[in-house]
């Protein structure tokens, strides 16, 4: 439908699933997320079995290391970014391209904030001597949280590409599924973070 110009009246109810490609992308992103669930489960399980394990006389432990206020702020940023991408999808359904772009930009900004705090956190840990090679615990911690951070980076690059490339093209049935898939992926990053802040930070502080 390259040539078709839509109006809010002709815009279909489920624009992300109106074409065959859209349907494939919809199922595809979900199937990909299923494999990502198992990927994170493997890293998570490794972290749990290596928590607080290190060379004899290691001075770091989860209970003393983590700072809850920072984790709380990061959680709020990511949760809010999840809502803003829902807003973007709401505007997509109503064929309001400006709304889509605005809310997606806000999502990216919130994601960048999250990423900045995470980089600060990592930097802080390395600074006090808790580097990647310090112990099995440190390797596992950085791998788990870092894998999530990498997913955030990929999500940010993805959404930014979408915002930039479609800025002049406007909304159509070719790019609607792309926005939708990116937003599903972004929510999934939030789902993983819910487990990270609960299992790593909160339960880590409990010891």
């Amino acid at each position: 439908m390259e040539e078709t110009k839509f109006t809010p009246q002709t815009w279909p109810d489920h624009p992300e699933q109106a074409t065959m490609e859209g349907k494939n992308k919809f199922v595809g992103i979900w199937i990909f997320i299923c494999s990502d669930i198992v990927l994170f489960a493997s890293v998570f399980a490794t972290y749990l079995s290596l928590k607080d394990k290190g060379p004899a006389g290691m001075e770091f432990s989860a209970a003393e290391l983590y700072e809850l206020p920072l984790a709380f702020v990061m959680t709020m940023l990511l949760l809010t970014s999840s809502l803003t991408s829902v807003f973007a999808m709401y505007h997509m359904k109503n064929y309001n391209f400006k709304g889509v772009q605005t809310w997606m930009i806000i999502t990216v900004l919130l994601g960048l904030g999250f990423l900045g705090l995470e980089i600060y956190e990592f930097y802080h840990y390395v600074h006090i001597g808790f580097g990647y090679t310090q112990s099995a615990f440190s390797s596992a911690f950085f791998t788990l949280v870092g894998t999530h951070g990498l997913h955030v980076v990929i999500g940010l690059v993805w959404i930014t590409c979408l915002i930039v490339r479609n800025a002049r093209r406007g909304l159509n049935l070719y790019n609607a599924p792309k926005y939708y898939a990116a937003s599903i992926y972004w929510h999934f990053i939030d789902v993983v973070w819910v487990f990270i802040f609960t299992v790593v930070y909160l339960m880590g502080v409990l010891g």
Partner: protein, 113 residues
């Protein structure tokens, strides 16, 4: 795109209905978001408030579970009956979750020193 995809203008009533439906749906999402924020607060609060770990651990795991279900079914629209093959997708997601669960169990029980 694939052929066989045709689009017709909606009637005015249909259009207004869809608009309204979308808005109502969006309000629901905001309520769900508020619930999620509240659950997060709760989780952090019980940890800071220093209750017994035997109480806190199951509670925050439960709260995390509720949050995840809310994300999946509300934000990610797994409850949307019109989603393409959404039933198959649900089956895949929960199978993945079950397999993930077995990883946790085994890595916590049969890895030892």
């Amino acid at each position: 795109m694939g052929h066989g995809t045709e689009f017709r203008a909606k009637t005015k009533a249909q259009y207004q209905y869809d608009r309204h439906h979308n808005a109502v749906h969006m309000r629901k999402q905001v309520v769900n978001f508020a619930i999620m924020i509240f659950l997060t607060f709760l989780a952090f609060t019980v940890v800071v408030a220093d209750f017994s770990p035997f109480f806190i651990k199951p509670l925050i795991l439960l709260l995390a579970g509720i949050q995840v279900v809310l994300q999946l079914y509300s934000f990610m629209h797994m409850d949307d009956k019109k989603g393409h093959h959404i039933g198959v997708i649900q089956l895949f997601v929960w199978t993945g979750a079950l397999i993930a669960f077995t990883f946790f169990i085994t890595f916590l029980t049969i890895i030892w020193w």
